[in-house]
Symmetry: C2
Subunit: 701 residues, 2 copies
């Protein structure tokens, strides 16, 4: 049963005002007598540092050859995406990150920027390209050395060697250090023997493994002379020219997935497969012909993390792609909400536009603010990535910061993509469930972003541990009095200073003039105090509770850590939220004209207040907000939503998507046309004098 | 890049204790030295009043012919589901709700109970069956009269006439009263002329419309003698024996959807299609041959809602099916979490089982408590539905209560299905993304449950309005003093008494002995006070703010209502949560043995405290909880999770699913087998003396 009306109402024909009544609220900046944002300028801001490259990539994916075809059978979809990868090569889309001597452009930032636009065409294309050039190729590039580059990089770039990135196993995903696959050095033949000792050690979920992969970068325990030197990466040929597995190699197709079915994910196993000694990607560790191991990094733990860190690009890309897809979903849902009408307003005027409903504003506009924040935070992430990988700012600290930032933002963006796309889907009702309107496809394809390239929960725990270790450094050798002072929260201003993350109290260039802030109660600096105070307090609290761990037996220490796991993860999330808020604030302050800055400041306030509302109980319990002030937060948000409502269309238009990127019929204006046709029908009927009267009016007579 | 480890660790081979160490926490009731729940008895409790029918239906769907095939192309899937419907007919699955004189069983409760098990086989099967027998057939049954029953019910039951339920239009979904399709009575021929006046009035999203429907129950504005009598339902033949549209009828396929692709949803339009006068389903309104309209219900508004109310069964079914699917997802994710291990504990023992992680407990166990609550609340809903539709308790009040309860619980269960299935999917990592493990398919198919059969947001608004009107009745003519007393919240105990919803302070038979409650702080009666006090206060607050509306012009009144829309919807949600909590409490108290009751009471406490935690800021702001007590709520929840952890497997096993219902390889024990194999491999290696030593141990030498 489709729904009952919300309230009893007059029969349909009598209630209509032929030409449509006044809207219940201003729909545009002009109607609201407010400055309109400079849409093009905001697009520039959102596209960020590599705007030109992003525009170039967007132009490229206007070609329908790159688009996903809904309902295409898996086998055909896989072949189509493979062809799209070849098309990408033709367009020069595969070479941006690679060294110039192999035909690359050596431009890491631009590479990521271009890459994240592929999601608009088909997330399968994006992810399969990521497997080929961001993982498989990157492993050769960043874990290998010149002989490897000379041998394979050109063929990786031009897709002569499609490859799989064979890290995850059925039995070990997040815990890469524990993979079961072995690479045992055979002194006699100067070969490595790659072997899968049991079913749990099969490589699994690998793109390019089921069908197209000719080779793989395989992560395995390097064993030489009876010693295990930990996980290293090896180049292993998989298939011959006919596409058949080479001797000793087997596999399985992962079959149908929740999404990304244009990618041939599969499993691989190795039965004593021999590869030359030189196939060890030996940037961080090598085996001499005589079996001697050497590495420039003495600590096995640090070596392992350095190798993983070299592959951080995947997370940077995923973060940006998720943000881009979320923006697309909001473009579709807000456009539709601005055209679709349902139920008359009870005031005898036309039916109400969905976005005029306060609840509908509440559902969509805070998410719009969040995705704006993601854009600015994401651009900072790419900048940091580019700094490290270009070598311009390649220090161990910068690398560690990059990894922490990527972990934090990847978790936030990918989760928000799922939440927001789902909200957009529901906000579009039945039409949102049709594949042609794209929201369901985006959700299905992006679903796995939350757990691949690092499970989000594990990533946030990683961030939390980083926060704890910064905290510990700060208070190394501190006496009880210093800690007590800190616990009071007054001297905490620069706890995370030097952590390389955004430095609290420093990095935000300007909170904006207080006059521009919309509410008296919680201006920018107060939002910042609440958000940053929460991070500091949470980390300090968890650290305090974990202090006894040092004196406990390992099992008891692990149990104590476990008791605080949820809160540590929450602290990491709070930290990521703060980073996003700060990035948004900086971004807003870069807006050129006053009118634009004003509207974007409301958006920033909406983001800040939404974060505060989300954690309102925490702020109350910790005495950061009075109950009176806390009680007003939700009302502030309602008012900000109403205030931003006339600017909503401009704000989603500023994402800069063109019809070839949007493609959803419900965001095409078709809905508006249908309403116009209906209106004209009723108007003509009324003019003809043959319109039926209502039963009610009859009774009155 | 798959994830980095959470902390530096020893290389894989050296850290393993061959036989597996002690778990970090008890995994079973026995290990915890606690009573184990009586699983079979809890299954009986959960299956509820119609347990026998549910078991019968579950037995039937163990037949693989009913199962969804992942990745099946849409066209084949549609044909398969049609065949499954015929199979259902053979099994007597289509006749339970229909009158005995046509071969039915006249058993409404059993019909719903059996129906909601179909979701385990394939949600497409469930929903297509719902279209045929719950909507199309129900419309004939409940909106038609004996001649209609004589003519069509048998063929509806045996699927000789597959039919569409043509209510929703492209332009009007939630607002059914405003549909554009007209049914104009032609006095000369004694026919109705069914007509689609414009594109927005095309019927849309209808199951059975694209391919299989031979007829439809079409909702249209009934016009006779120049008067519009509002929306009525008509039986309209669609296709001939060859499956071709009859003259004047056209349509379109809705194409690929986000899920439920075994159903042929489509659009229909009518160009002056003539049907006999007798095809008006005339239970609530009729046209005499001379064009005179008559109805036993004088008010057009009440008549409209009575007609819609006759079709409430759809929501009752959806509610239960969503609960069942959610339980299945939890069965899969909890079973996997109880077997899967990742990262060693740091204490030198075996790797840690996922469900031992506090965060993993937090992700899954409160959801387990919620779905238990849904089972008990859902059974009460079916009871109420059965009471009304059997005629045993068919009063206008009971009908209104049924509709409100169905609206509230349908919204809660379908949203929770999406949230929980998604959490389960993520909790299973990459394996959760494989179609074979079912979680992604369940999410995709159930996605639209949140917006069909009544958009959830609109439904909650409906519930909110009902609460407001109960509130208004209570205070009709009340003086300021009485209202003031109420506002203080002390005399509010029975505000909703007489509303037919669960009667506050009465219906919960027993909160259980306080000794059984796990925490000193928030026992059952205190949970109840907080949850019920919140509903009362929220409704009272919104009512107070809406009071001036009566004196305002319509547009201003509408604007005032709009300002309070979000909070009214929140009040409705709070009310639904209370209903679920009360149903769970009653259900727990029906458990036979003390040990079972104890564990279920912890589960109830977990549900109650989770609800309180979710709205903690509200309780603080309104002075219902001190900050000190509020601060302890999250810790209580953590401890309850740890307490329930050893019982988690028992609690999901109590859903009573058999392997043919679960079907997910990750919940089959395969993971455990793989780990056992790995463990044996390492044990044999260690025993052989050839195991590689770690690099670290080498350095120590």
């Amino acid at each position: 049963m489709t729904d009952a009306a919300v309230r009893p109402r007059k029969p349909a024909t009598s209630k209509r005002t032929p030409a449509g009544g006044a809207p219940t609220a201003p729909h545009t900046a002009e109607q609201a007598h407010e400055s309109r944002i400079d849409i093009d300028a905001v697009t520039d801001l959102l596209l960020g540092t590599w705007a030109a490259t992003r525009r170039e990539a967007r132009e490229m994916v206007k070609n329908p050859a790159f688009w996903r075809i809904d309902g295409q059978p898996m086998a055909e979809h896989r072949e189509r995406v493979l062809e799209q990868l070849h098309l990408l090569v033709e367009h020069g889309g595969s070479r941006r990150a690679y060294p110039e001597e192999y035909g690359g452009l050596n431009d890491n930032g631009a590479n990521v920027a271009a890459y994240l636009e592929l999601v608009l065409a088909d997330p399968s294309l994006q992810v399969k390209a990521g497997v080929q050039w961001g993982l498989f190729g990157s492993a050769i590039h960043h874990l290998g050395t010149k002989p490897h580059h000379d041998k394979w990089l050109r063929d990786v770039m031009n897709l002569k060697i499609p490859g799989a990135f064979a890290m995850t196993e059925t039995g070990h995903g997040s815990d890469v250090a524990a993979v079961g696959t072995t690479a045992t050095y055979d002194l006699d033949t100067e070969e490595f023997v790659i072997h899968t000792p049991f079913r749990g050690a099969w490589k699994d979920y690998l793109g390019n493994a089921a069908l197209h992969g000719r080779a793989a970068t395989v992560f395995a325990q390097l064993i030489s002379g009876g010693v295990n030197y930990g996980v290293h990466c090896f180049f292993v040929p998989l298939r011959d020219e006919q596409g058949d597995f080479l001797p000793g190699i087997g596999g399985e197709d992962d079959g149908v997935k929740g999404g990304l079915n244009g990618i041939d994910n599969g499993r691989l196993h190795f039965d004593q497969v021999r590869i030359p000694r030189e196939n060890l990607l030996n940037r961080y560790g090598d085996i001499a012909p005589d079996g001697t191991y050497s590495s420039e990094i003495a600590s096995p733990g640090r070596r392992f993390f350095t190798m993983l860190g070299a592959l951080v690009q995947g997370r940077v890309c995923i973060e940006g792609a998720a943000t881009n897809a979320t923006a697309l979903a909001l473009k579709i849902a807000v456009t539709y909400a601005n055209q679709r009408r349902q139920f008359d307003s009870g005031s005898g005027s036309d039916e109400v536009v969905l976005l005029d409903y306060a609840k509908h504003q509440r559902r969509l506009l805070p998410r719009l603010a969040e995705v704006y924040a993601q854009h600015f935070a994401g651009d900072e992430l790419i900048q940091k990535f580019d700094g490290v990988f270009s070598g311009r700012k390649d220090t161990p600290d910068e690398r560690e910061d990059l990894e922490t930032l990527a972990a934090a933002l990847k978790a936030m963006s990918t989760w928000n993509a799922l939440d927001t796309i789902q909200e957009c889907r529901e906000a579009c009702g039945g039409s949102g469930f049709l594949a042609e309107n794209r929201l369901v496809g985006l959700h299905q394809d992006l679903d796995v972003y939350a757990t691949f390239e690092g499970d989000n929960t594990v990533l946030l725990q990683l961030v939390g541990k980083r926060l704890l270790s910064d905290f510990a450094k700060q208070f190394k050798g501190a006496d009880a009095a210093k800690l007590a002072r800190f616990a009071v929260g007054q001297t905490a201003g620069r706890v995370f200073h030097g952590a390389g993350l955004r430095q609290l109290g420093q990095a935000v260039t300007d909170f904006g003039s207080t006059a521009r802030s919309v509410e008296l109660g919680l201006r920018a600096d107060q939002q910042h105090d609440l958000l940053s105070g929460r991070v500091q307090q949470m980390v300090s609290d968890v650290a305090g509770r974990l202090r006894p761990a040092a004196k406990l037996a390992p099992a008891a220490a692990a149990a104590l850590f476990n008791e605080n796991q949820s809160e540590l993860i929450e602290a990491a999330r709070a930290h990521a939220e703060l980073l996003q808020w700060e990035a948004l604030t900086d971004g807003v302050n870069r807006a050129g004209d006053e009118g634009t800055r004003e509207v974007l400041t409301w958006l920033r306030d909406l983001f800040g207040l939404s974060l505060i509302e989300k954690h309102l109980a925490w702020h109350l319990i910790h005495g950061r907000l009075s109950t009176q002030r806390a009680a007003s937060v939700s009302r502030y948000i309602d008012r900000l939503c109403a205030r931003l409502r006339p600017h909503a269309q401009d704000l989603v238009d500023a994402f800069g998507f063109e019809p070839e990127h949007v493609r959803a019929p419900i965001a095409s204006g078709a809905e508006q046309d249908r309403q116009q046709e209906a209106r004209e029908y009723y108007a003509a009927l009324a003019a003809s004098g043959t319109a039926p009267v209502s039963e009610k009016s009859l009774k009155k007579k």
